[in-house]
């Protein structure tokens, strides 16, 4: 009897909860796939949200039931906080905006240079936003949300990019958690993925037979389905498609379909600089984060050709050497590589040749790592390597003394000894043809 009473009570209570407070029908949800945050007027932020229309995306019979063929729209709202901007967007959206599926958050560079602490706080504090979302810095946060590339959705493009771009060995991604952790830990500065929307010549987009010119940054409504992209005439000589590793033009709002990558270095919550291409790789060497990528060195055999090797793995051991007042970092880099491409008649099994090859790789890595280190130390003055953190862990008392002047005085003048030992692990799948 008592038991039935319990069951009845549970059911009764459950029926009482007729409100279903947080239940929401999936068809009443506006799913945000990516968010762009840019600087607005004064202290305002401009928040761009990519809202997808699942009905237009679905495969099969149900695409037909959708009212609108628009795959996604990008809203832009200006307000003093992200939250207020999203609320503004909600006023114009017939469905509840849900931030829980945001995969990428893109910060505009001008905003990033002023500091993004408060916006990181929004992302961390809001339990609905997943902390595994990737942070990116871009010339314009909204710009990246405009153009999809190899995918119907801009957010998918970005997610794919952050997943596959590290394969180039020229960048690394940071999630919200990682960024926030570095922000709060002593002696290490955060980084993010840096993406650059490259300006191309005006592109002609054939949309359902009709040609539309697409350079207008104010375009809010996109219909990228069945986009047939035809470039206007010949590819220009400076087309970023062919030469991707170039300095970026910062500050300017650049819409474009090609995307370039690098690493944005922060000091506290302010972006201080951009490590582009090889520079970013210099950073990745020194932190041992490189898992993929390509190294090119001249053929030690003297053919004048170039040998390309792919990076299999790398590691770096950073050891702080703390004397009385002198602090020094000993960084040892180990890199494993595999030969991928070279002149026909180079014998990769030749020991001396291999040794010479490894030596020249060592020299290249050392050069790249050192160049980046110099720039970070002297120019950016931001300890993205986490040297300070090593000092803190090794000797917290010393760190307490050094901390106030670390970034400005100690770190820029820190002696860092780099040692590289690379190993060409395999010749690839073939020994190479012997010289005739």
């Amino acid at each position: 009897m008592r038991r039935t009473g319990f069951v009845a009570l549970i059911i009764f209570l459950a029926l009482g909860f007729s409100g279903c407070w947080d239940r929401i029908e999936i068809e009443d949800v506006a799913i945000v796939g990516a968010m762009g945050i840019d600087k607005g007027q004064g202290d305002n932020v401009v928040v761009s949200l990519e809202i997808t229309n699942p009905g237009a995306l679905a495969i099969g019979t149900h695409a037909a039931t959708s009212q609108s063929p628009v795959v996604s729209i990008v809203t832009r709202d200006e307000a003093s906080t992200i939250r207020a901007a999203i609320t503004n967007a909600q006023r114009r959206t017939p469905r509840r905006i849900v931030t829980g599926l945001i995969g990428t958050v893109v910060f505009g560079q001008s905003l990033a240079r002023e500091g993004i602490g408060q916006y990181i706080d929004y992302l961390v504090r809001n339990a609905r936003v997943r902390s595994s979302a990737v942070l990116a810095t871009c010339d314009s946060g909204a710009g990246l949300l405009q153009r999809p590339f190899l995918s119907p959705l801009p957010s998918r493009t970005l997610a794919g990019l952050s997943e596959s771009a590290p394969a180039s060995g020229m960048t690394m991604t940071a999630t919200i958690t990682e960024f926030a952790a570095k922000l709060s830990e002593p002696g290490i500065e955060p980084i993010t993925l840096h993406t650059v929307g490259r300006k191309t010549k005006d592109v002609q987009v054939k949309r359902q037979g009709e040609e539309v010119k697409q350079t207008d940054p104010a375009v809010m409504l996109e219909e990228p389905i069945d986009v047939d992209i035809t470039l206007d005439g010949e590819l220009p000589a400076d087309s970023p498609v062919l030469s991707p590793y170039r300095e970026s033009s910062s500050g300017e709002f650049v819409p474009g379909i090609t995307i370039d990558i690098g690493i944005a270095a922060y000091r506290d919550d302010k972006m201080v600089g951009l490590l582009d291409g090889v520079e970013a790789r210099g950073y990745l060497w020194a932190t041992g984060k490189l898992e993929e990528g390509t190294v090119e060195v001249p053929d030690p055999g003297g053919s004048g050709k170039t040998i390309a090797l792919s990076i299999i793995r790398s590691s770096a051991s950073i050891k702080p050497v703390l004397d009385e007042e002198v602090v020094r970092m000993d960084v040892e880099l180990h890199v494993d590589l595999e030969t991928r491409e070279g002149p026909l008649d180079t014998d990769m099994t030749n020991e001396t040749l291999l040794q010479a090859l490894e030596d020249s790789i060592d020299a290249l890595i050392l050069h790249e790592a050192r160049a980046t280190l110099n720039r970070v130390q002297k120019e950016l003055k931001s300890d993205i390597y986490g040297f300070g953190n090593r000092v803190y862990r090794a000797n917290p008392k010393l760190w307490a003394q050094l901390e106030p002047r670390w970034n400005d005085e100690v770190f820029p003048n820190l002696e860092v000894r780099l040692q590289v030992s690379s190993r060409v692990r395999a010749p690839g799948a073939a020994y190479g043809l012997s010289a005739r």
């Binding site: 549970i10 699942p54 849900v98």
Partner: protein
């Protein structure tokens, strides 16, 4: 040792008392006058059309008048002729002789029926009247205030057939039928051990059903056997037709939605379980045996498991466990995810789900509830109909109804897929009736999931586990996972251990141990001092 002797249940018909058989002559309610006795019997039974009163008059001086009384429908007439009528007629002179000398005509009769089956004396007229409808043949003699009876009963039974509710691909293909003696013979032929005990209990004031407890003495824990015996004797009901009715009468948890005790119509399963120390209850007129005590993990066991090799059997068990869980949780979890926690679904999948939900007018929980109910109705309809119509119903119900509902935009295909998955899973488990019972809790869970999402679902799940943990059969806990003992460990239940690795005799060690597992009274004076 005659099990009939000490287990004969006391008659419970109001106003009727009946003793066990004995040698005492005479009894209450009998008259010396045969005609009077016959009139009483006939009146009491309401002069049914199948009542046969066969009067034999034995020549002699004085002529002895004997009556044989039985119900034609319950008795094998040939047996009566061979074992009662013929001996009496052929030995009439002996009867006479002895009747003249000896004290009692009844004793004479007993001596005269040597070819008969065991004969008993009725203690009273009331007893005799309850016995005749059971298929006994009463023999009355003029001048004696008493009667003899013997058993010549005959029951209609179908031939032994393949067990329909528990078909297996391999293994014995014979099932019980409605005759309790046939069933007992099937069990005995599989366990020819002298310690196999069969105890008879008659249950039901009106049905007077023959119920038998079958167990192995020494293997089945004595106190559990005694407990079952006690409970069976305490049953006071009118009619018993199936072990299911007995289960309902002896269970500790009448309000639990779960059906704990396992019923089976496979003699091989009964033999295996009895060998493990369980007690089987056979009920006259039902092809099902009830196995007690029951434990949670018998849910995923099938007779087949022991005929396959260990690896495939283990895999099957894990699959069945998964099927159980899915059949209960599939729809509530889907509702919780889609309505509350869609963030955990990867975006491409979510977009697909969202697209299918687009334009469906009903809220998901409502649609889910009705889909589940309709699926159950379709299933029920398919089961009830003659087998020729079964496929028709499934085609109409599942295919046409489902397809049209989706096309008309009443229900989202995602929901149909998930609800169907749950239903199919419930078919994949060996015991359909239990799967049904477990599936009942889908509905409260669905409610909780659609109000509170995952937290609600978990709270419901915890309450369910508490309930399952509190269940007992015959005082033995229903769910025991880790209690030590050979056959008891979780790993050995989830997977089947190769036969060689198992001890030859595996009594229910865990039953013994957890038997003491009763909540001690909080103010037990023995514990206090």
């Amino acid at each position: 040792m005659n099990p009939f002797r000490f287990l004969r249940r006391l008659g419970r018909l109001p106003g009727l008392t009946r003793g066990t058989s004995g040698n005492r002559h005479g009894g209450q309610g009998f008259s010396n006058d045969l005609n009077k006795n016959l009139a009483t019997i006939s009146a009491f039974l309401g002069k049914p059309s199948d009542l046969v009163i066969r009067r034999l008059s034995l020549r002699g001086d004085p002529p002895l008048s004997i009556a044989v009384v039985y119900l034609r429908s319950m008795v094998d007439t040939e047996t009566v002729r061979l074992t009662v009528v013929q001996p009496l007629l052929s030995f009439s002179h002996v009867v006479h002789k002895t009747a003249a000398k000896t004290v009692s005509p009844l004793e004479t009769l007993r001596l005269t029926l040597p070819t008969a089956r065991a004969t008993f004396s009725a203690r009273s007229m009331n007893e005799l009247i309850t016995l005749i409808p059971e298929g006994k043949v009463a023999v009355l003699i003029d001048g004696a205030s008493g009667a003899l009876y013997l058993d010549a009963s005959r029951r209609a039974a179908r031939a032994l057939q393949v067990p329909t509710s528990e078909s297996t691909v391999i293994g014995p293909q014979i099932g019980f039928n409605e005759s309790i003696d046939d069933n007992l013979s099937l069990i005995r032929s599989r366990l020819k051990h002298p310690k196999l005990r069969v105890e008879q209990v008659m249950i039901g004031r009106k049905s007077r059903t023959d119920v038998r407890m079958v167990y192995l003495e020494g293997i089945a824990p004595d106190e559990i056997v005694a407990e079952l015996r006690r409970r069976l004797h305490e049953i006071d009901t009118d009619i018993v037709l199936d072990p299911g009715m007995i289960r309902d009468l002896i269970t500790e948890q009448p309000y639990s939605p779960f059906i704990l005790e396992r019923t089976t119509e496979r003699p091989d399963t009964v033999a295996a379980e009895v060998n493990l120390g369980r007690i089987a209850l056979l009920v006259e007129g039902s092809p099902f045996a009830l196995l007690q005590p029951s434990q949670l993990f018998t849910l995923i066991e099938s007779a087949e498991d022991y005929y396959l090799n260990a690896l495939s059997a283990s895999l099957l068990r894990l699959l069945r466990a998964l099927a159980y869980i899915l059949s209960v949780l599939a729809t509530p979890t889907y509702v919780a995810i889609v309505n509350f926690h869609f963030e955990l679904v990867p975006l491409p999948l979510l977009l697909n789900i969202a697209a299918t939900e687009e334009g469906v007018p009903f809220p998901l929980p409502v649609a889910a509830f009705f889909t589940e109910v309709v699926l159950d109705i379709v299933r029920e309809a398919g089961v009830r109909l003659p087998s020729q119509f079964g496929p028709v119903v499934s085609i109409f119900g599942a295919v046409i109804l489902g397809q049209s509902a989706i096309q008309a935009g009443f229900v989202a295909p995602g929901l149909i897929i998930v609800a169907m998955l749950g239903t199919i899973c419930s078919f994949a488990v060996p015991r359909a009736e239990k799967a049904l019972a477990y599936r009942l809790i889908r509905f409260p869970l669905l409610l909780l999931a659609s109000i509170l999402g995952f937290p609600g679902l978990t709270i419901g799940g915890v309450a369910t586990v508490y309930h399952i943990a509190s269940l007992k059969t015959l005082g033995v806990p229903y769910s025991v996972l880790y209690t030590p003992g050979h056959a008891a460990r979780l790993s050995r239940k989830l997977v089947r251990v190769p036969a060689r690795r198992q001890p030859v005799t595996r009594p229910l060690a865990q039953v013994d141990r957890v038997r003491s597992d009763r909540v001690p009274e909080p103010r037990d004076p023995k514990n206090d001092d």
